[in-house]
Assembly symmetry: C2
Homo-oligomer: 338 residues x 2
DNA sequence: TCTGATAATGTGAACGCTAACAGTTAACCA
DNA sequence: TGGTTAACTGTTAGCGTTCACATTATCAGA
């Protein structure tokens, strides 16, 4: 063990099994034209030597690395984290390797560094999850010749992209409130730099306008703290606001914290809907009504797309990536006063 | 672009620059003995051709892949996620590639599958973050000859391992409560299968015994739901309990939710300390006193260890991986009644 | 028993790079 | 000026695979 241990290669296996290296290669790759008896003999030899095929050598000759790169940003947030995790799992199930690289999603310099880092691996595809900015140009320039998939990217023209249906989700949430009888519903939006934020605004507006109500949007970011600050300042009575569609659960949580301090009852005085269904959501006070995205489905679709087993048009067709509305206790009918 | 595009190799660069391929190689690897003028000439040629070194070819000849594998489990939890993220970043800063593979930390079959998946890449090291079980034997058997680092692993004998000082953290938390005047303090522990849980119990017990108080532990897992259930059933008055050390923030959150429903005031009737400092902690009601681990430090230490720049004994010496106590509003002096 | 197909196996080269060494040029000092 | 050393550059081989092809074994059917 202490002395230099040389890993066995295909020739060592071949010699032990009494065949040529090419036959061993065929066994490894499930190639055709291999007699069952020789196959088992080779397999035995591989086991005995503890042989493990060398991915680098294979990659060199086939120029297929079996690796998929991932550029990820903002993975601290619940949404991105869920997506990334799901995609990684699918990549592995497809017998590929996922190599991810965290970048600062707001700095194109950091982005370039990340791509440079990944580039020499000879990736077969790349998945980019930078929810704040659109780096499709950068990626395409630095990595032409390999398919790139953008998650939650604004500009979907002529490139693989996929996203949760934020529009639909937001619309469903708003309709839920309208269905309960609310008229004055406001939306606390995510930051405009994030690609997710805008469709959530549009979904809300669309539902409001369809119901003959007038939308009102307050811009924010994704942070609990921001929700809290807004919650402290918001004058609900002036606008007769009885319900709020928050762009994510964290904003909703911040609002609730502030309302608690101000003795504004949720949902009696004001209803709140979130977005994400973070693990804490059911245990907040009150339990939060929210939208649950289907990350698993997204992962499957993503990997299907980049590996070419699903075409872009197909993906759009069975795009059942609607978030699901989970109704809990933070939403109720509006107070009768209004 | 449509027709087959052949990537330039080292010879193409050499030809364009009018040098030998070996000179190009020297430029790439910052080798010694290269005249500045030739160096720039080669660099220009590389830029012109868009040359990117092929990692597979290099790995093949040097048998150094520059890749570090990570076997991770339970990355949905805040603690593991933070560690993993930090370690990955450090790996990248060291100019290595991190390839992670998620496994089911409770199934050794899944573990074996994961290792098999990673093994053929010719990893230079492996980091194992399976907070529930100890897989050091499996890893050592399947991947002899490469250094393996275990995070939060119980059995640290003769192998690289590193962990947050859960014992110290838990002790500090308990001492904080004792310092406030509490006498009857209980601990809701994490699941025994997790390697983090036990030192937190011991830290609590140690502080209690040092103060001449008698410890009492209730076993749980990490889930909010479990904290909630325990909170619903707990008879604080019978035991005159005035403070609780929860093994993590989620348990604390569950407790608080239950206590709210039962109109048990926090911190007036009972103080609660958590562990993790999840992003939500400051915005719970009341804001949660908790312990914040230093993941960044852990990541640095981890990568230093596996790449050999830090020795195990050194690591133990400057092991400043104490979690920091963040005091918020969920802890206060005990009610005067008791 | 021979023929021609097809199944099974073997042979050499190539993938793109670096290690090891060999060779050449420049630099210095006496 | 020559000779010695250091700086620079080139040549060859080999890392462990797979690919394309060449070869041999097997087995029908006539």
């Amino acid at each position: 063990m202490a002395e230099k241990f040389k890993k066995p290669n295909i020739y060592d296996v071949a010699k032990l099994a009494g065949v040529s290296h090419q036959t061993v290669s065929r066994v490894i790759n499930d190639g055709p034209h291999t007699k069952p008896s020789t196959r088992t003999r080779v397999e035995l030899a591989m086991a005995e030597l503890g042989y493990v095929p060398n991915a680098a050598a294979r990659a060199l000759v086939t120029s297929r690395s079996k690796m998929i790169g991932m550029i990820v940003a903002d993975e601290i947030f619940f949404g991105p984290a869920g997506m990334i995790h799901a995609i990684k799992n699918e990549i592995r199930l497809a017998d590929y390797f996922a190599i991810s690289c965290s970048v600062d999603g707001t700095s194109s310099e950091s982005m370039v560094e990340g791509i440079k880092h990944l580039r020499r691996l000879g990736l077969e595809a790349i998945v980019v999850t930078t929810p704040q900015f659109d780096y499709s140009e950068t990626v395409r320039q630095m990595l032409p010749n390999i398919p790139a998939l953008f998650i939650d990217s604004k500009s979907g023209e002529g490139q693989l992209s996929i996203s949760l249906d934020n529009f639909a989700g937001s619309r469903i949430a708003t309709e839920h409130l309208i269905g309960l009888g609310h008229k004055n519903i406001i939306h606390i939006s995510g930051p405009a730099t994030w690609q997710d934020a805008e469709p959530r605004v549009r979904g809300y507006e669309s539902a409001m306008i369809s119901a003959g109500l007038s939308p009102k949007v307050i811009s924010a970011d994704w942070l609990i703290e921001t929700g809290y600050k807004i919650g402290l300042e918001l004058d609900l009575d002036a606008t007769k606001t009885t319900a709020i569609v928050a762009a994510n659960d964290h904003l909703a949580l911040g609002l609730m914290k502030a309302f608690k301090e101000r003795s504004i009852a949720v949902p009696d005085r004001v209803s709140i809907v979130g977005f994400d269904d973070i693990p804490e959501a059911p245990f907040l006070d009150p339990a939060l009504t929210t939208l649950r995205p289907d990350f698993e489905q997204l992962g499957k679709l993503a990997v299907g797309l980049i590996l070419g087993s699903v075409s872009q048009s197909e993906a759009v067709d069975n795009q059942t990536l609607y978030p699901e509305l989970i109704i809990r206790n933070s939403t109720a009918a509006p107070p009768t006063v209004f």
